[in-house]
Symmetry: C3
Subunit: 349 residues, 3 copies
């Protein structure tokens, strides 16, 4: 991590971010770092309480954290009610992303009737299809394929090697990472005379403003209507979203999750990594699914749900599997013991 | 979904598809839609009985379904013994896919000795290697890489950004979706002197006629012989098929499934989403694996198998995990109670 | 599998590989094959004892195996203490990979200030960014995107359609398969005022010498510091490695595994397919995780761990799920029976 371009006095940073400063107003801050690695001109942060013990040894020039966490800390503090969000703002301030120079690379292939907005940047070896509409200030990195009729809203960024088809419509400020496929055919098959027949997939995909889609994630087009992500949906890497799925606003989905066809997920849900959600379900708002869970039924109450089993040492796990196989037998044995006990008072009459 | 190009009288549709019509012969049908969204000039369908209640309120101009389902329905009906398959035919009829204009995009890179059949379409920024053979009427979309010696059978379609290597041979009418990798090296490693040594992978991949491969799926080349998909195998998105796997004809594999090396899967199997199948197994014909199951042993009887655990509310699931940890203890306790009861008759003598 | 270019006498092969030969010194060997398919001029191997019965019927010209396994075999044998590793060497010897001709394809787009080492081969339609440094003899296949400032060590091979960004640094002899994304943003999100705020990801990725990364695997850049793979880490297809993860030397990770953020995995670990490892954990050296396990806690003892449940016939599995739901009830019933039995001696006084 190379140092940031500029040096700030700590009081400048506090003022810029609207945070209370406790400590040396004039401390020079040049960069950000972790608590462990930070030096005297680095800002660091503490959000996850598990890392609090690192405060004792950190050499950070300032630590951004909640007042509560800072009580016994003698270094410089930027006090924040929401340290992780303010940390994001601090990085943006201290390490602003270089903006992409607008322009179309000479090797890009743009259909004559594609509409390209002002300030758009299109990278090397990217192809843009007929009738595509690319909003102002959109950045499309190298190696992308944007199919016919696709619409990309203003200020969106397709990082590179992204594939979008089926006349999908993306909102504004959408970020799409490499390897993502949007608008592939859903898995629609009918069996007839002993062979599969493909059911044509003619729906599209709509993605709301401020969504982010992680690397190698796939989002199928709808079968008839659209697959929909509402605004501010955040999706990690290698997630599979099948045809006709609807995902409500502000829902976050971690890596390797699979969501089967026609399922509707509410707003403000959080789906932890590697979970699977079956098709044709309704998941209400504010549901949390814990890691590696299998959701086979609709959920109509907010709250946390799961079925992931924590790994154990092999010997213990093997024995537990044996026990599982015995449960049927145990049910009988337990019943027999109960019956025998219930009969006892009379047996001895 | 834009309307179809033409309008049909309902009796025309019935005749074209060979279906019995119940209702207005002259009703004009222009497009397809879901039961919920269909209007008077849309055809809709009912296959999944869960959606039958929608019949009461649908405004569809006609509904394609089984006679049995249509009994109390007063609207127009196209009667079908296999509604989902006939729905596929209806869409093909009403909304035919525009055929790709043959020709090679100027930006495509085609090896001088590649054989390109008549009627082939090759998209922008696609590379085709030496000795590749592309059959008649094949469509290869933009951004593909087709390696040396690869063969693609007639009428196949590589949608775009597909990677095929290792001199893989694809049959006719194969459809491959974006992000698919066919012919990558299998995971062959030998440990020697404390370091991994790569075992060269020199087999290839053979894919039968009418297979379909979903977005971002990977199919490794065989270690020595070939990885094989027989005809009419249907694979969803993000499926991993390791080296030397054989998949029998008409088997369907849903999203996020992983199949480890050298496993053989029979014909007419159905593997539900996110399941994992270990290596070196034999799965016989007509096996169904339910969602998120772990297959660790060969299966020699057709039927349904599974090990996916449905998610529960967190509190109940945590308690169940505690119970699982107690099973060893319970086994002892149950035995003790039984012994004590068995001794009882003598105890009271 | 086409035959190898040359024919060797068996004694030549034995000498070249430093192996003891038992049998016909002059037997001509032209190619490699499996025990099942090998003919008289093929070499085959036996490593997995499960395949030992095939020795009885193999027609291989020679079999490479341990002396122990060869005892009752009357054919020609190349005796090896480590047959799988020597098999790798034998294939390399008999079927050497054609080396890539150095040179840059005319359609590749190379930034003016990229440093390209001697002997480098760059394929069609590959883009290489500003300040990238490509070591000597590196092979970069077609359709790759190498971002600004990326470094690729000598003798590495990016097979094709690989995406590398975030100024990642790869060591020497690294092999990266198609569809891999290295350096994508980690999943860093803070909730503020009811919306997600993206936490800028400014770390990079470091990959040690001799690593291999399977098709469609994703490796996110670190949030602040780097995501790190030490030397000789071997990763299969469709693996997800989140930001800040550290993986120790010689660890192997099978297909479809997901590793959540900031987890550290030791040296010489083996993670079997489709397992998930939660974030912020420490897994010590020499840990084996069995297939489809969920690792939710740190592990500080070497050994084997798991939680994958083998699939059962559907009826039995459904009953077992019912039993699981009854465990709470059973706990009460078992306690009641025990209490009743404990009271008994007094009841009959």
């Amino acid at each position: 991590m190379e140092p940031g371009a500029r040096t700030f006095r700590l009081e400048e940073l506090a003022a810029a971010l609207g945070l209370e400063l406790r400590g040396e107003a004039g401390r020079a801050i040049r960069n950000v770092a972790t608590l462990e690695k930070a030096g005297p001109d680095d800002a660091a942060f503490l959000a996850n309480p598990a890392y609090r013990p690192l405060l004792a040894s950190t050499e950070a020039g300032a630590v951004l954290m909640q007042a509560e966490q800072a009580r016994h800390f003698t270094g410089n503090v930027l006090i924040s009610a929401n340290p992780y969000a303010d940390w994001a703002r601090l990085i943006e301030y201290l390490r602003p992303q270089p903006s992409q120079t607008p322009g179309v690379h000479a090797s890009a292939i743009i259909a004559a009737d594609a509409e390209i907005g002002d300030g758009v940047s299109i990278g090397a070896l990217t192809a843009i299809g007929s009738g595509a509409r690319i909003g102002v200030n959109v950045v499309i990195g190298p190696g992308c394929v944007i199919g016919d009729g696709v619409e990309i809203g203003a200020d969106s960024r397709l990082v590179g090697q992204v594939y979008i088809d089926a006349a999908a419509r993306l909102g504004r400020r959408v970020v799409v990472h490499p390897g993502v496929v949007i608008g592939s055919d859903g898995f629609g098959l009918a069996m007839a005379q002993g062979r599969w027949r493909k059911v044509p997939q003619i729906g599209s995909v709509r993605i709301g403003d401020d969504c982010e889609i992680g690397a190698n994630t796939t989002i199928d087009r709808g079968a008839i209507e659209d697959t929909v992500l509402a605004e501010d949906v955040r999706i990690d890497n290698q997630v599979q979203i099948a045809h006709n799925v609807h995902i409500g606003a502000h829902t976050a989905i971690a890596g390797c999750v699979g969501i089967a066809g026609s399922t509707r997920i509410g707003r403000y849900c959080m789906i932890a990594g590697a979970s699977g959600i079956a098709g044709h379900l309704e998941i209400c708002d504010s549901v949390i699914i814990t890691a590696m869970s299998t959701v086979l039924d609709s959920i109509d109450q907010p709250g946390e749900y799961g079925s992931g089993i924590p790994a154990r040492p092999h010997g213990r796990w093997k024995r537990l599997l044996v026990r599982l196989g015995q449960l049927d037998d145990w049910a009988r044995r337990l019943r027999r013991v109960e019956q025998s006990n219930n009969k006892e008072p009379t047996r001895h009459d």
